[in-house]
């Protein structure tokens, strides 16, 4: 067992982990931040997406020890300071960008990552940016719409009734 220390959502945390403990296991089991999910074992679904040192990362694809000394943010750290939904989260709610909610934290983290570098993405850019995230419920239509809306773009032309 080794000690690991990192900053998660602005707080310094530490714990003792095995070499094989994944970052997502540390986040869920040790820190009890259960908003980060596990949807696969091949690094394909993005349910576990978090930000590590400002970059989008799959927490199932890193060992906890690899994040030693890093700044990690998870879905639990995304809300506005007063606890209300941030712009992306609110857009997901306004545009029904989630159903069962299981992929949702990963989708929100992926969207935040996109909008950081591309403040007005096109529909195609959004779809391509989500290549690492699977949603089985929504058919992506409303996720794409929510991300467009979160970036301040008009979504009335997105194919819909």
């Amino acid at each position: 067992m080794s000690n690991v220390t990192m900053t998660v959502n602005g707080k310094t945390v530490s714990g003792s982990v095995e070499g094989r403990t994944l970052l997502v296991e540390f986040i869920r089991n040790d820190l009890h931040l259960t908003g980060t999910h596990v949807g696969c074992d091949t690094s394909q679904c993005g349910a576990c997406a978090v930000h590590v040192d400002g970059k989008l990362a799959k927490a199932c694809t890193m060992f906890a020890l690899e994040a030693n000394g890093s700044e990690v943010s998870t879905i639990e750290g995304q809300a506005n300071e007063d606890g209300s939904l941030n712009v992306i989260q609110q857009a997901f709610k306004d545009h029904h960008g989630l159903q069962c909610g299981f992929c949702t934290p990963g989708m929100v983290m992926a969207a935040a990552d996109l909008l950081k570098t591309n403040s007005k993405p096109t529909e195609l850019e959004i779809r391509e940016h989500l290549e690492g995230n699977i949603c089985r419920c929504t058919g992506y239509h409303n996720i794409v719409k929510a991300i467009l809306a979160a970036s301040g773009q008009d979504v009335s032309n997105i194919a819909a009734e």
């Binding site: 259960t34 699977i134 089985r136 419920c137 819909a160």
Partner: protein
């Protein structure tokens, strides 16, 4: 009450905030004091005799508390099939036992034969690898045709691989044969409906907590129907008295059918928790989900369509082999039969229908209902053969469909497959579809595609589905071993807010938002004062859960009936309060009034009076304001729709892309259009996934070739277009008080044939003489068809 929040309002979902903030509570998020971990040892071969299982090394591993094998469960029951299907000769189906852990034989890759319970998951995993099983591999039974003709059996004791040979409707067989023999034209099509893996994003998870002091159990599990799971475990598998077992399904991350069923892991953790007197938990890895969740579809079908010289449909005759896998999952026998055969009229007026289905055991995971369940299979066969007939007869596919539609003035219409369609207007739906599909603009778009070196095709279809299967009386005669009602308890609290306990379960459908819209509308209260309670057998009445697009039509109707009882009792109390009689009391917008006077009393005051019954006619009316209603529908509901799609095919690679997709559906009355649209989108994605991307493949040795997201292609955002959805045609169901029909499966039912029809159209327009390609239409398959 603001009218924009009742029935018909696109109310934003109240459940969203917790999911968006990361504070949902899925099963795997639950942590119990002193919990332990179960890990299963699973078969690596498809078929084999278990000679010995040596657990002694595993038992000595660090942290190991207990090890279980099939021997531990020989004295308990098996996991049963929920529907008895009889063969054409009257013989009941074959029902081999499905044990908690494999015993004697393993029958598919992933079949669990032992389980380790340890202090940590890693310790359990390490120990499971030390279980020494001597399993003698046998040849795998995979291909259905060979399974039926061979003499190797998945279950030796039944001496056949045929579960049943079912005919629907047997009395129509001869007339159908004759109609086909004498027809002016017969179109024949052989096709497969590809096997799919449901892939709810949340893997299954079960946690058992045994309380020795009371000898009772709590099971937290990823279920679409906690009461059904409890019933199966209590009555059939472990024999735990129902009142000693609480099943809780908290937030569940999608189901699509795969979480309807009871699985052996649930029984194992319960038995283990009792033995070791500590909580036991298990969460599936995605690999385990691929190997052990019930799969969907997997039909091989021959369908014939007979037409007269004026292109009127005369008969549909279908022969299907349906894979049921190695064991009968709970609804595996009704899905390829009742839910498939009865739908074989589609939207059409056709006098003769006959369907034959042979269900076949193979050394593969069990196959059961997956979004649409039998209805996508029916629709795919019908809508593909109709398109092929249009090709052969050089007819416009839309015109051929319209000509044969059941017309709006023919309802109620009893089909030759035995269903009674209550209402519908298929031409009106097709009008909406043609509007959105912009058929006139197709030629221009095709030219543009061709300039870019792409082939462009247009495809269309119609579908009908049957939701909310019922009534229990009828389905009992068809072999159902359960009733298919649902239930709701309306508890008006003393302070006037309302708790509604429902049998339906929400795992993405938004019940917590949509159900209060109904309550608010009927009682004139703010929907925010209505709370929906679901997913806990200790709190909710005995309802059947959520699948088959039934929640609103069946459980929603139970809510309506419950509220009607509340209003009736409220009127009695109000009459007393206003010194009148109940038949002189009206109720509207949350206010009771005495007809013809200005006397009124509010709903809230009546509720308070019910719980503080001072000056209350206690001898005539019980205190309290709480009512339960069970609702058993008198018929199915029949949503219908028509879909259109335009594809581009790259002739160099065979890659298909969906360029436009429009869906027009008739769901009857709509409670929340935003949720309805979302349901359609999700269904479309799954149907397009089936058509183009998804295919579960076992090789001849029974190895699961598509066992992860590396090999099983899930639709991703860039694989799909934005969709145009229209639900303005609304013919309310006449069989439930809300006039609703159900929308959860429509997209998955209607889209596969639409896509395939469009691809065939594209290829033919480039001169390829292709009439059919089996799904999924991968680049390799399309390219091979073009370069034959």
């Amino acid at each position: 009450m603001p009218k924009d929040s009742g029935i018909g309002a696109a109310t934003r979902r109240r459940e969203d905030a917790r999911f968006l903030l990361g504070s949902g509570r899925y099963s795997d998020d639950i942590v119990l004091l002193n919990q332990t971990y179960a890990v299963f040892a699973r078969s690596e071969v498809a078929n084999g005799i278990i000679k010995t299982i040596n657990t002694s090394e595993a038992e000595k591993m660090p942290g190991v508390i207990a090890v279980f094998t099939g021997d531990d469960f020989v004295d308990v029951g098996g996991n049963p099939a929920g529907w008895l299907i009889n063969s054409r000769d009257g013989e009941p189906m074959k029902e081999p036992k499905r044990p908690v852990l494999a015993h004697g034989k393993v029958r598919h890759v992933g079949d669990a034969y032992a389980a380790v319970i340890a202090e940590t998951e890693q310790q359990a995993r390490d120990a499971a690898e030390k279980i020494n099983a001597d399993i003698m591999e046998l040849p795998a039974i995979i291909d259905m045709t060979s399974a039926l003709s061979g003499s190797n059996y998945v279950h030796d004791e039944i001496e056949t691989n045929q579960c049943f040979d079912w005919g629907w409707i047997e009395d129509n067989r001869e007339a159908t044969d004759n109609a086909i023999k004498n027809a002016h034209h017969v179109t024949t099509l052989e096709l497969t409906n590809n096997r799919l893996v449901p892939n709810a994003m949340e893997p299954r998870c079960s946690i058992a907590d045994y309380n020795a002091a009371n000898d009772d159990y709590t099971l937290y599990t990823t279920s679409q129907n906690p009461h059904l799971t409890r019933l199966l475990i209590s009555a059939f598998v472990l024999g735990i008295p129902e009142n000693k077992l609480t099943v809780v399904s908290p937030d569940v991350g999608g189901g699509f059918g795969s979480k309807i069923y009871h699985y052996g892991e649930e029984a194992l953790v319960l038995a283990a928790a009792k033995r070791i007197k500590r909580p036991v938990r298990w969460t599936a890895s995605r690999s385990e989900s691929f190997m052990t969740d019930a799969h969907g579809r997997d039909h091989v079908t021959k369908i014939e369509l007979a037409l007269d010289k004026d292109n009127n449909f005369l008969a549909f005759r279908t022969e299907t082999m349906a894979n049921v896998g190695a064991y009968l999952s709970n609804f595996s026998t009704v899905t390829p039969t009742i839910l498939h055969g009865t739908l074989m009229a589609g939207n059409y007026s056709v006098p003769n229908i006959y369907v034959n289905v042979k269900a076949v055991f193979t050394n593969t995971a069990p196959v059961d209902a997956y979004r649409g369940a039998g209805r996508p299979e029916a629709t795919y066969s019908l809508e593909r053969v109709i398109d092929k007939a249009a090709l052969e007869l050089n007819l416009d596919p839309i015109a051929l469909r319209r000509q044969n539609f059941i017309k709006s003035d023919q309802f109620p219409y009893v089909t030759a497959a035995g269903l009674n369609y209550d209402v519908g207007d298929y031409d009106a739906i097709m009008d909406r579809l043609e509007h959105h599909a912009d058929i006139k603009g197709f030629a221009e778009r095709k030219k543009i595609s061709e300039k870019q070196g792409k082939l462009r095709g247009f495809g269309v279809n119609s579908y009908i589905e049957a939701c909310g299967i019922a009534p229990s009386n009828l389905i009992g005669t068809l072999g159902a071993r359960v009733g298919l009602y649902d239930a709701a308890t309306i508890r008006v609290n003393a302070t006037g807010n309302i708790s509604v306990m429902v049998g339906a379960h929400s795992h993405g459908q938004g019940h917590e938002t949509a159900f209060p819209q109904i309550v608010a509308d009927m009682l004139g209260v703010d929907p925010n004062n209505v709370e929906i309670v679901h997913g806990d057998t200790s709190k909710i009445p005995f309802g059947m859960g959520t699948y088959g697009s039934r929640s609103l039509a069946v459980c929603g109707s139970a809510i309506v009936r419950g509220i009607e009882k509340i209003i009736a009792k409220g009127k009695k109390i109000a009459a007393h309060m206003m010194e009148s009689t109940e038949d002189n009391v009206d109720f509207e917008d949350g206010v009771f009034s005495v007809r013809g006077t200005n006397k009124t009393v509010s709903f809230g005051d009546v509720a308070l009076k019910a719980y503080i019954p001072h000056n209350f006619p206690i001898e005539d009316i019980e205190p309290g304001l709480e009512e339960t209603a069970f609702y058993d529908p008198q018929n199915f509901t029949y949503p219908a729709g028509a879909y259109a799609c335009e594809v581009e095919v790259d002739p160099n690679t065979g890659k298909v892309s969906i360029e436009r997709f429009a869906a027009a559906d008739d769901f009857g009355n709509i409670i929340n259009p935003m949720i309805v649209e979302g349901q359609v989108h999700g269904g479309l994605a799954q149907g397009i996934g089936q058509a183009l991307l998804e295919g579960c493949v076992y090789n001849d040795d029974g190895q699961l070739i598509s066992g992860s997201y590396m090999d099983y292609t899930m639709p991703r955002a860039a694989d799909l277009p934005s969709f145009v959805v229209d639900h303005t045609v609304q013919t309310p169901s006449t069989d439930n008080p809300l006039g609703v029909k159900g929308c959860g499966e429509a997209g998955a039912i209607g889209s596969p044939p639409t896509v395939v029809n469009a691809v065939i159209n594209a290829l033919r327009s480039a001169g390829h003489d292709i009439t059919h390609i089996d799904m999924p239409l991968t680049p390799a398959r399309v390219w091979a068809a073009m370069n034959n």
